[in-house]
Amino acid sequence: MVALPSVVRKGRAGATRQRKRHTRRVVEEEAPRAEQRAVTETHASWALPGVARWMISSLETQLPTVTERIAGLVSDGAGGQRGRLVRQAVQQALRLFVDQVLDRPTSTIVVDDLFRKLGYRQAARGRDREAIAHAMQVAAAEISDELRVRAAENGLSADALNALNDAVSSFLDYLARQAQHGFDAGLAERAQDVGIARTQLIEALLAAVDPAAAQGRATAARWDIPELVTVLAVDLGPDDHPLDGDDLGAEALTGQGSPQVVLCDSTVANAVTKRIRAAAPGRRIARCWPVVVTDVPAAWRWSHRALALVRARVIPKRPVIDCARYRTEIWLHAEPVMRRQLAQDLLQPLFAESENSREILSETLLVWLETRESAPAIAARLGVHPQTVRYRWKRINELFGEVLHDPDVVTQLLLVLKASVPLWIAGDQSDFERYKSTQDP
């Protein structure tokens, strides 16, 4: 199982903390401002005639009936938690309006909180912002109808009725703004939730979780698991900023850490690669061949190793490393400790030679093991005279003796030389230093 990049885990925990901080900040910053607006934007600016106040006070006993009617219209008959929340919000809003008209001591905190919750829920469920405005219009129409009927019954003047309607309109605007605040907070939270879901998804895919579980997370992350996935490892420097998922498009899943992992549908791998190069110019990318989703952890390991082999100068430096071209190298270096031990066991005769002799003899032995061709053919590959190859072969036989006739040893020699010679050519002296340390008294 692949160990998840620590930064991925940190990213998820960080996102959770960030969400909590964000919510707390919204409450701390928005509540005082909202309370202040309640004073300045609602009843403080109303100038209602006494007859209007009297009529409102006479309606106080009708509030439950009006509440039910408006709540029913706004929630469109919805029950459950949402229906209760709507009813409670309407009830508290009507109570607040009446109390403010009658100049009673009031606090907007409860009403503000209720309407923000309504707006938050609306956004969190992916619903339209226009639904809030529509609900407010429905409520305004219903209240206006009620007031008009009551005004006719009580012989309220047109001026008084207009003033009352203005107050209702102002109050509803205030409530709509609270709902909008909540809606905005819900939107931010929702965006944050998708990011977390995508992080959890990439973590799950790299950890090879059950495909069914991965599918659930993919739905939450709004990412369709493709038939074949391409895994890319982006080699970020210590001072480089991680790639932003927004830069790579919705079809790419972007992890954290360095190398930074990017997953995408193999059909769009080229486009995603171009976007990565545009977003992080100069950074090397290792792109694995397409794999099924259950092989993503292995593909990540291979592309990660490809970058390490580039740094070790085993794989040539290119902006985009196509892992398919270097399957052999990636495979041969899958077990570095085993390679090191095999080298110490099998290549001791070479380690005792001078550096120059070791290099040319190992190179010749490797070509012979790979091709089993004649001296002239090997000489042509190495760019030397055939007699030089014969001389080297004589030396190799002197050094290795009969083991070259053992098929198992020959196979091991081929593998260990294939893995080790590029390292030596690249300047890695660790094998010889380790050998010397065992020889020195």
């Binding site: 120059n356 002799s357 040319i360 005279h385 007699q387 030089t388 014969r390 001389y391 004589k394």
Partner: protein, 324 residues
């Protein structure tokens, strides 16, 4: 009428006095790759009793050749030939040129000339050293010629001995000179042992080893003193100015296309032949003229007979000159 008859009788003498032998000898010499500027050179050559032969190019081809390849491990003989031959291509001296005959050119790098010690360099990235065995830390050898040790990858793999490439007909050239009365002396810059061996191979009784440019002049002076006034000829690529008769390829009194001892012998043979023919033609011409003049003066025969006799005498002189 008598005057005309005498004049006709002089024709054979005139033909005998003409340098026909020299002209024809020069023509024959050019065909043999021999030339000279002054005809007096022929006289000097005919009088020379000693010719000093430089080792390089006279009795030898001027190059060395590989005499023996001795690998320490018999399986390494081809490797020995290959690495020594490949590095030999980078050497400019006769030993290097001889070694280069063992193998084609290889991929050389880091070639260093260590002067009299030898040469080193990498052949196909294998470090190779050629030089005296002692310099390479190898056991010394006591072979005829020059023996070089060979190390590859800092490991001694064998010895290669090179020696003089003696001309196949060197001995016959020396014998021919001897038959002309010219003594041959071999001069060599090699060791006494190698020089003696070369002299024996060529049938030369007298030789001098370890001769260099400075000691050559002294040697020539010594031979001149012993020759009692007879000229001393020197055939050498490097010390041509030291002798009474300089035989060289480009700047000598006698110029040869090469210093092959057989060509040198031919040059001496031509000088002897020209002198002999010239003596004969003069004698014949003067004799015929004297006979014709006496007969004509005594009035024994008429002009037609004298003229026919003079013409016959002239033709005989020319025939002798041409045959010579």
């Amino acid at each position: 009428m008598r005057g005309l008859t005498v004049a006709v009788a002089l024709l054979p003498a005139l033909a005998g006095l003409l340098p026909l032998a020299t002209w024809l000898g020069a023509r024959r010499a050019r065909r043999a790759g021999i030339s000279w500027r002054r005809n007096a050179v022929l006289h000097i050559a005919r009088r020379s009793g000693v010719v000093l032969l430089d080792r390089w190019g006279t009795v030898t081809t001027g190059e060395l050749k590989v005499a023996a390849v001795d690998a320490l491990d018999p399986d390494n003989e081809r490797n020995l030939r290959w690495f020594a031959g490949a590095l030999g291509h980078a050497a400019q001296d006769p030993v290097g040129r001889a070694l280069a005959q063992l193998a084609g050119r290889g991929r050389l790098s880091g070639v260093e000339d260590h002067g009299c010690n030898g040469i080193s360099g990498s052949v196909d990235r294998h470090p190779v050293h050629l030089g005296p065995p002692e310099w390479l830390g190898m056991a010394g050898r006591d072979d005829l010629g020059v023996t070089v040790g060979v190390k590859v990858d800092a490991r001694p793999i064998g010895y290669i001995t090179v020696g003089d490439d003696v001309r196949a007909d060197a001995r016959s050239g020396v014998d021919r000179l001897r038959s002309l009365g010219v003594e041959t002396v071999l001069l060599s810059d090699d060791t006494e042992r190698n020089t003696r061996h070369l002299a024996d191979a060529c049938g030369i009784a007298r030789w001098h080893a370890a001769v260099d440019g400075t000691s050559l002049a002294g040697l020539v002076a010594g031979y001149r003193a012993r020759a009692r006034g007879r000229p001393v000829a020197v055939a050498s690529r490097n010390g041509a100015s030291a002798g009474d008769l300089r035989i060289d390829v480009e700047a000598g009194d006698l110029r040869l296309t090469d210093l092959d001892v057989n060509r040198i012998a031919e040059a001496f043979a031509i000088s002897h032949r020209v002198a002999r023919v010239r003596r004969r033609t003069r004698a014949l011409g003067l004799g015929a003229t004297a006979l014709g003049g006496a007969v004509a003066g005594a009035g024994l025969v008429g002009l037609p007979v004298v003229a026919a006799g003079a013409l016959l005498g002239t033709l005989v002189v020319l025939a002798v000159a041409a045959r010579g």
